[in-house]
Every structure is written in structure tokens, then in C-alpha cells.
Symmetry: C2
Subunit: 213 residues, 2 copies
């Protein structure tokens, strides 16, 4: 299990500082959609050196013009980029092709995707499928059950991530479902002491899943 820490709705200076502080406890640092829309893809290049050994994900939330956006994200130093599952399958294919060719990874954000739609896009073996409850809708009640149900429904999908309202308690309950990536945003970044919060998440993750850094 890997920890992805999402940074959102702060200035670029704050984002850089947070990245520097939090990267030692993260496998992936996420430059949130708000950073990309506030500052453009150049935000990625600004955060990249601060991320150190952690990978950098650009939460581009691409939904059209897949080739252009993924090429721009790669050019600006993203290791991973997101595309919406709500995109056309043609867009998903385009993004996947660019990701594969450039050595970046594609994460498919499954926000508002019905199972029928997911069934149309199970043919991207290296993609990460991210279960995501909308910020505007509130958090998932039981992320463990959500991941388990998804893995059961789509056994051919190997790589699963989950985002949306993950806290220490729900994280502790995720040993069974064992998603590849757990994404935490405000649960770490908006705390008074984000580093301490990141350490706690890391500790619970290790205890729960025998995760070794």
C-alpha cells in the first residue's frame, strides 16, 4: 500500500513548502487540480525538485484533448497524470498511449462512473483505477467495502487507488481490501501539523498492511 498526499487550494509557495515537508512520508505527492488550474502545468515543475524521491502526480482531470494534456503534463515533469473515467473511451485510449510512450503512468479517476462505464475501460493493464467520492458529495462511508466490492466486480483490474475522506480509522480498516494507493488530502495537509499527521498515516499504514518503506 502506497500513500499519496494531495496538495490543494494553497499558494504555489505553500505547495512547494508542503511538498518539501511531506515528501519524505509519501510515495506520491499530488499536485491537486486546484494547483494546476490556478497556476497551470508549470506548478508541476515547481514541485518536482521538492518531491525528492516521491513520485509527482498531476491531477489534470483530463476529459478531452487527451494527447495534448498528457504531453503537456509529461513535459512539465509529472510521473503520473489523471484522466476522468467519464471521458470517452477514445480519450482514455489516447491518454494511455501517450502515458505508455512517455513512461508516465495514467490514473483513471472514477468519479461518477457507473459500473457499465467502468466495464468499457478495463483494458488498460498499467493504468491505476481510482475510486473517488466527490468533495462536493462528502466522503465514502466505508472505503474498505468500496474497494472490496470494486475488486470483486472487476477482477481483471490489478491496480486500484482510493480517494475521498480517508482518515486514520478508515485507513486502519483497509487491510483486507489492500488498495495499491491510498490518497489523503485535507486529512493531512489541512491539519495544524501536517508532518505529524503524515507520520501517523504512515504508521497506521505500516501496522495495518505490514507496509515497509
Amino acid at each position: 500500500m502506497k500513500l499519496q498526499i494531495a496538495i490543494d487550494r494553497v499558494s504555489l509557495e505553500q505547495a512547494e513548502l508542503l511538498t518539501r515537508k511531506l515528501a519524505p512520508y509519501a510515495d506520491i505527492i499530488e499536485a491537486g487540480t486546484s494547483l494546476i488550474k490556478d497556476y497551470g502545468f508549470q506548478a508541476l515543475e515547481r514541485l518536482k525538485p521538492a518531491a525528492g524521491a516521491a513520485k509527482l502526480l498531476g491531477d489534470a482531470k483530463t476529459i478531452d484533448e487527451g494527447a495534448y494534456e498528457f504531453r503537456q503534463g509529461y513535459k512539465h515533469k509529472a510521473d503520473l497524470l489523471t484522466v476522468m473515467g467519464a471521458s470517452s473511451v477514445a480519450t482514455l485510449q489516447t491518454c494511455y498511449d501517450v502515458a505508455e510512450a512517455s513512461g508516465t503512468e495514467m490514473m483513471i479517476d472514477l468519479l461518477e462512473c457507473r459500473p457499465e462505464k467502468v466495464a468499457q475501460m478495463v483494458h488498460f493493464p498499467n493504468a491505476i483505477y481510482c475510486l473517488h467520492t466527490s468533495v462536493d458529495q462528502g466522503a465514502s462511508v466505508d472505503p474498505n467495502q468500496e474497494v472490496l466490492a470494486f475488486k470483486k466486480a472487476f477482477p481483471m483490474i490489478q491496480r486500484v487507488a482510493i480517494a475521498g475522506g480517508i482518515n486514520l480509522e478508515t485507513l486502519a480498516g483497509m487491510a483486507e481490501a489492500n488498495p495499491e494507493i491510498v490518497i489523503v488530502g485535507s486529512g493531512i495537509v489541512k491539519k495544524d501539523d501536517p508532518v505529524s499527521a503524515a507520520k501517523q498515516f504512515r504508521k497506521v499504514m505500516q501496522e495495518t498492511c505490514k507496509y515497509s518503506m
Copy 2:
């Protein structure tokens, strides 16, 4: 019928120059998603003075964090902002509330939205519903029929726009469907002489729909 000219995949300097040249022939200048993701929402402020009397639309393609993105777009001088119809209804409602409160207009991009989804979001009387064929999928075969079918299926929706591969020929055929807004991007902006192309679109629009500037 109004003409919205979309500017995409150029430098901010070129976008400003194109806006200055094309705004006299446009009702709405669109700062495309590529400009927002390449340069951030500040791209809007850069284009606003160049747009003159034309309104400025920020193609934010919001799909989550509706309040934050719409407030940022408004702060950076957008007159209209887009949200994806593929968003949760909660996100659409949030965007609509911010738009109504701030005096901006919300355009719902119906990319990849099935009729069942559209039926869940017909309750935004001031919103503009944009029929949109993905760049990655290719253009709509018959935009006139597409708008007519949409208006028949959703007679309660008053404001309809259409985007995706509109050319002079398909525009000439849209008198019957008469959408409120026709969105043209590369059909104008990528031509050798964009101003001449914009004038041609304007002329055909006037002839077809007795549109007066």
C-alpha cells in the same frame, strides 16, 4: 444565435493577440481548457481587456470542487464558466449557486452525458446546456439534427449551445435548430487568416438566422 470563438493550444501571447483580433466578430471569446491548464486561471485576466465588448468564457471543465473553481474563475474575470455534466449533481448545484450569486453564467458541457444523466440536471433555468462532441472522437455528423433532438427530448431546457467540428456548411444548416450559441474553435482560429474566417462565420450566421450584431 451567438458566436463563441474558442482559443486553444497557443501561447498566452498568441491567445491575447487572437482575442484582440477576433473579439469584434464574437459574442463570446472562450479561453480554452488548454490555456487554463497551461497558464492557470490568470490567463482569463490577461485575455479580459483584449475581449472588449465580447464576454469571456473560461472553459474550466470543473468536475469537482465546484465552489472553489467557480469562485476562482469569477475572481479572475470570467463572465461564463463551464462545468462538466458528468459531475455529480451536487457539484452542478454548487457551481450554479456560485454563478448565480456572482453574476457569472454557468455552461454545462454535456460531453459523454447520457440522456438519463441530463434528465437529472434540467433544473438550472439560467444555465446553458452545451452539446459537445469530443475532440478525441471527431465531429458530430449533423449538428442541426443533434440540437433538434435535444430540444425535443428536453423541452424544459431553454438555453442550448453546440460545440465540436462546426463548419460553414453545418452552420448554414442550423436555422431550424437555432441554438443560442454556436462554438467554433479550430474552424476559425487554426485557419491561415482567422479574422477572415470569423467574418465568414458571422456572415453565414446572419444569413441563416437573420442575426443582427
